[in-house]
């Protein structure tokens, strides 16, 4: 294998120009925490490594008339320490708290997590809850892609080799209950087997007035489970209701994946994790 050539353009324009000409032969590197695994093992069969980790155009978190914008190059540590995300996208902030280990959170970027298209990308459920769209650009055009459509299959991104994710535009939600939960082989630093995120708000009578929920890791691509929204909205959350909803969720997962050897574990685990996550909203 020929040696990989490292390229670090000074700005986004140069990076998009480079990808326009060499995209097929290029692997983009930002935080590197996924890419370096393949570089080290020799599994990376590209000619160029394009470093976009220092581009100002991909940085920053801001609330403007587009929505809540999170640059693709923002690290998980930056997400965790953002006050703006604490008040407008708490589920994403909670995701960052539980994402891998601190050394990885300091490097890994939200754009890289999505572009890598791993089914177990931890940022996906929270992005889906906030109905996030990715602003994707190549040299000649930009488009907005719903985050659930960023991966077509497990590990297969819908990005073309000429494209870069610039930022994510989230719908901000304030003053409600938000959480992210996952199950892995151990509590810290494990690949998620099941992950889920939620944002919910109750009305004065204690009924669920608003709910967004998404499931990740146990299906090939993340799903914004609108059936949970439909099932729970307008109802008073009781222990029994949440348990029933968790059961529905597990059935939906099986509908998507089919019955597998792991289903015997995942079916009750999804129901149980849903119960654990939503229990604080039971009055």
């Amino acid at each position: 294998m020929a040696e990989i050539e490292y390229v670090r353009p000074v700005n986004l324009k140069d990076a998009l120009n480079f990808l326009w000409n060499h995209g097929e032969d290029t692997k983009i590197i930002a935080g590197g925490t996924d890419v370096m695994i393949d570089v080290r093992s020799g599994a990376l069969d590209k000619k160029y490594l394009l470093d976009i980790s220092r581009m100002d155009e991909l940085k920053g978190i801001e609330l403007n008339d587009q929505g809540l914008c999170v640059g693709a190059g923002v690290t998980l540590s930056e997400i965790y320490s953002s006050d703006l995300l604490e008040s407008n996208a708490l589920a994403l902030k909670k995701t960052a708290y539980n994402f891998a280990g601190k050394q990885i959170r300091n490097m890994a970027t939200i754009g890289g997590n999505v572009a890598n298209s791993s089914p177990c990308g931890d940022t996906l459920p929270a992005l889906s809850v906030h109905r996030a769209k990715a602003l994707v650009a190549d040299k000649k055009s930009t488009r907005l892609v719903p985050v659930e459509e960023m991966a077509t299959h497990a590990y297969i991104s819908s990005l073309s080799p000429k494209q870069i994710i610039i930022k994510f535009i989230l719908t901000p939600y304030q003053d409600g209950f938000a959480d992210f939960q996952k199950i892995g082989r151990r509590r810290e630093l494990a690949v998620s087997r099941i992950s889920m995120a939620v944002f919910a708000k109750k009305d004065k009578e204690g009924r669920i007035a608003f709910l967004k929920f998404a499931l990740g890791a146990c299906t090939p691509v993340p799903h914004n489970m609108e059936l949970m929204e439909k099932f729970l909205t307008g109802k008073t959350p009781t222990r029994e209701l949440i348990w029933e909803a968790g059961g529905l969720l597990a059935q939906k997962m099986i509908e998507i994946t089919g019955r597998r050897s792991s289903t015997i574990y995942k079916e009750p685990a999804i129901q149980g994790l849903f119960m654990r996550m939503l229990y604080p909203v039971v009055k």
Partner: protein, 160 residues
């Protein structure tokens, strides 16, 4: 080949490295700073932890070329001329070291933590150490060592 310039343990370095080298390989193979260890090589064990611009990172998952322009501290850079850093003293005195393989990485994680949070609580220490595997101590002595390091550093015994 890529030219990089960076500062490591107070010294300026200019190197010509292979494009696909990890930061860990630059530090161990080119600079012969072998205090930083390679454990798993895939970002799980934390033995290769270094501080880049004040942040703890896994040097096995960092591209060497990305060191360009940064300021790096490895375990060799913790101690000052007049003695060990508080974090090192605390680990020795509280038996935070057994076989020692994970220790350089843990010291660098803790060094970054104490710079960010001078008086960390149990949860903050726990979240920090989650990225560093130790199979000897059972972590109890490490927690004690970190708390003692924070206390020593707070008394003005600051190096590193």
């Amino acid at each position: 080949m890529v030219n990089i310039k960076f500062k490591i343990n107070g010294q300026k370095k200019a190197l010509n490295i292979h494009d696909d080298m990890t930061a860990l390989a630059v530090i161990r193979s080119l600079l012969k700073l072998t205090g930083t260890k390679e454990g798993c090589g895939i970002g799980e064990c934390g033995a290769c932890t270094i501080n880049v611009d004040g942040k703890a990172v896994n040097s096995c998952l960092m591209l060497g070329a990305q060191l360009d322009g940064t300021t790096v501290v490895t375990v060799e850079g913790l101690a000052a001329k007049d003695g060990l850093a508080p974090v090192q003293k605390a680990f020795i005195e509280n038996h935070g070291v057994q076989c020692g393989f994970c220790t350089p990485g843990i010291l660098m994680s803790v060094n970054a933590l104490l710079q960010e949070i001078p008086d960390p609580g149990h949860e903050e220490i726990s979240k920090t150490l989650a990225g560093n595997l130790c199979r000897c101590t059972g972590y109890s002595q490490i927690f004690t060592s970190v708390k003692e390091a924070a206390r020593l550093a707070g008394q003005g015994d600051q190096h590193g």
